[in-house]
């Protein structure tokens, strides 16, 4: 993937091709994920069908144990379905080898977590740089790209600090910078504000919306806070006991526009 100096600031980033715009970015079909725990079979995900358009911002809602995180992990390629399929940009993840799946996670998906998941022994700059090491980006380029990404989330001053020296909000911003570094088309967020106070949470959510609106990234966010989802997401998907129980489009999330949208964002 080519990198340009304005890759994080472009307001009309051609992130997704036309073919992708016309077909759904993510298509989940009859998705099942069952675990066996001793004698009992746990149906974490049980026949979910879902389509997400490119550039859409959706929220997966449900109580704990509803299967929302499991769906997210399946879309992220961290887990494999028991049956059914997850098709992202026309590629069925179930058909990919472990190696291809790693490549998919590296280049197509960016993830943020409730617990930030930065590597404690590394500075922010090193954390942000890490995916580029896996992607074998040139050493010379990596520094400036990492700085750029940190600058975008306002952490360039703190790049040589370790995660433990930072506040939760700062850590989550660093995690966002890391998620962005390989320029993925998909941002998957698992309770990104779950460990943050409301003010910091808003800050993070605004950033995620920026990515959606400015970079045209498709966003799938797992949350149990309906209010948060209603404020930012364009669509709310409700899950219970591994099943999809509701799919509402949310005009509030769609209309709350602080920024002009990329023209490829919505048809």
């Amino acid at each position: 993937m080519m990198s340009s100096p304005d890759r994080f600031s472009s307001k009309n980033a051609p992130v997704v091709g036309t073919a992708v715009v016309n077909s759904p970015a993510i298509r989940v079909q009859q998705l099942c994920r069952h675990y066996r725990m001793g004698e009992t079979l746990i149906r974490a995900v049980d026949g979910v069908n879902l389509e997400v358009r490119a550039g859409e911002f959706i929220a997966l809602l449900g109580s704990s144990g509803s299967g929302k995180s499991s769906v997210l992990n399946l879309i992220a390629g961290l887990d494999r379905p028991t049956s059914g399929s997850v098709i992202v940009h026309e590629r069925d993840l179930a058909q990919l080898s472990r190696e291809e799946l790693a490549h998919y996670r590296l280049h197509t998906v960016g993830m943020v977590f409730q617990s930030f998941n930065l590597i404690a022994s590394m500075t922010l700059a090193e954390n942000v740089e890490l995916p580029m090491r896996f992607a074998e980006v040139d050493r010379a380029k990596r520094d400036s790209l990492a700085n750029e990404a940190l600058a975008r989330v306002g952490l360039e001053e703190r790049k040589n600090h370790r995660p433990s020296e930072l506040s939760g909000g700062e850590q989550q911003r660093a995690a966002l910078a890391r998620a962005l570094i390989n320029r993925p088309q998909l941002l998957l967020a698992d309770e990104p504000t779950g460990n943050l106070d409301s003010h910091t949470g808003t800050e993070i959510m605004n950033m995620i919306r920026d990515f959606n609106q400015q970079l045209g990234m498709t966003i799938v966010m797992v949350t149990h806070e309906r209010a948060l989802a209603e404020r930012y997401a364009q669509r709310l998907i409700f899950l219970a006991d591994g099943k999809l129980v509701g799919d509402e489009s949310n005009s509030a999330g769609a209309t709350e526009k602080d920024y002009p949208r990329a023209e490829t964002d919505r048809p």
Binding site: L78, H103, L106, H107, N117, A120, S121, A135, R139
Partner: protein, 469 residues
């Protein structure tokens, strides 16, 4: 992931649990050190032995005897070839012929006889042997007090320590430290010895009649030979006292007084073989009981032996003995190597343990790496790199440690040897290939130790790993 990144991350991870990884690395070092120490001891001892043996002249010497010398008769290998009675005589032309063989540096007769020596008018009976000038460079005469013969024909003598003691009337008392050679040499140096010996004097014409009588029974006509035996005296100047091992396998050292070879030859001392060969010796050329042949290179001993055997003589060399010595050292090396490797095997388990612990500890980190796109291969390589780095580091420290242990033992042994008035020796040898081998070995053993942990880390389920706190 590229190698520089891999190395950087691996070293960073090793630094993170510094104590544990240092301990593991020390474990590897001890293993490598013990391997290096054991093997260098084996190699050093082997080198020491072959150095000594080479210097002793054992390995480049072939002793030639005539088949007529019936002492060897009936030995398995001698059954082929001409019958003793028909075989050739070991005389001067033969010696020259042998000397002209390829790869032969010299061939000299072994002259040895028992005779009387007078010192300060007291007679002493002892074995006298002749030494070629080349003996000067051999190990046996390295420790000679005084000097070696000034020339090959000089009327000089070197005494064996025991004989020097006898001349001075000093008998070594058991339990008391042996007298130093230098102490013995001082009063004797430059003194005169009178050697009385039986000279063989050819007197062909004078005794032709008797000789003719003797040989009439022969199948074919042999020119008759006769000689008379005359008692002679030869004054010898003592130039040196040597402390030779009387048990040494080398022939000349069994004697107690040594003369220069040229001088000994010119004396025409009556030899026991003279009696046996009287019927054949057609000329006044001396006949030798045996000839020592020095070969330029020990590896050519076999060829020279074969060539001499073809000429119709019996030969003897220590070659076969040396082969079994080398075999012994091979076995010793393997044995020491196995012992040395035991410590490395323990270190191997240490690496596996450390890395398995690291997986448990860094489970979440592995999960994170996978979530952000690390492939199984990346994780596996990372653990391999950590194992390899520990192995290489441990190897370097271990080689240094092994070398140091060797030096300490070497120095310590030499101090002991010196206190026992033995010359210092170099037992310990760490050749460069051993260093390279030890480093490579510890590196690959560590990689092998990393095999299982790396595989386990790579197969870690990221979802579970991320859930792990």
């Amino acid at each position: 992931m590229k190698l520089p990144d891999l190395t950087e991350l691996a070293l960073r991870n090793l630094r993170e649990s510094l104590l544990r990884n240092s301990l593991t690395t020390i474990g590897i070092s001890v293993g490598v050190a013990s391997l290096v120490a054991m093997l260098s001891l084996g190699i050093g001892l082997q080198q020491l032995t072959s150095r000594r043996l080479m210097k002793s002249g054992l390995f480049d010497t072939v002793v030639v005897t005539s088949r007529r010398d019936l002492r060897n008769f009936g030995r398995e290998e001698e059954r082929s070839g001409p019958a003793p009675a028909e075989s050739r005589i070991l005389d001067e032309p033969t010696r020259q012929e042998i000397e002209r063989l390829p790869n032969v540096s010299e061939a000299y007769p072994d002259i040895r006889f028992i005779t009387e020596l007078r010192y300060e008018d007291k007679p002493h009976l002892t074995m006298v042997a002749a030494l070629p000038t080349s003996a000067k460079s051999s190990d046996a005469f390295e420790t000679v007090q005084g000097q070696f013969f000034s020339s090959d024909v000089a009327p000089e003598a070197i005494l064996q320590k025991a004989f020097a003691e006898e001349l001075l009337g000093k008998t070594p008392k058991p339990g008391i430290d042996e007298t130093k050679v230098a102490e013995l040499a001082a009063p004797l140096m430059g003194k005169e010895l009178t050697m009385r010996y039986a000279q063989r004097e050819t007197s062909k014409s004078a005794s032709s009649a008797e000789a003719a009588d003797k040989t009439t029974s022969g199948d074919h006509s042999v020119s008759s030979a006769a000689y008379s035996v005359v008692s002679r005296e030869q004054k010898l100047k003592i130039v040196g006292v040597a402390d030779l091992d009387p048990e040494s396998m080398r022939g000349p050292t069994r004697a107690r007084v040594f003369l220069p070879l040229g001088l000994a030859e010119s004396l025409h001392v009556m030899q026991p073989t003279d009696l046996r060969e009287i019927s054949r010796a057609a000329s006044d050329q001396p006949v030798y009981s045996s000839i020592s042949v020095r070969v330029k290179n020990p590896s050519q001993v076999q060829k020279v032996e074969d060539a001499i055997k073809k000429m119709g003589f019996n030969t003897f060399s220590i070659l076969d003995a040396s082969r079994s010595i080398q075999q012994f050292f091979k076995v010793l090396d393997v044995f020491l190597g196995i012992f040395g490797s035991l410590a490395l095997a323990v270190a191997f388990i240490g690496i596996v343990n450390t890395l398995v612990m690291a997986i448990l500890e860094r489970r979440r980190e592995i999960g994170i790496m996978k979530a952000i796109g690390a492939s199984d291969g990346d994780i596996r390589k990372l653990f391999f790199a950590e194992a390899g780095a520990m192995g290489l580091l441990g190897g370097i420290v271990g080689v240094a440690l092994g070398w140091a242990i060797g030096q300490v033992i070497n120095v310590g042994t030499n101090i002991y040897l010196k206190s026992q008035s033995f010359p210092a020796e170099h037992f310990w040898s760490v050749p460069w290939w051993l260093v390279a081998f030890a480093l490579a070995f510890s590196f690959f053993v560590s990689l092998a130790a990393g095999l299982y942990p790396a595989r386990r880390a790579a197969r870690l389920d990221p979802v579970q790993a991320l859930r792990y706190e």
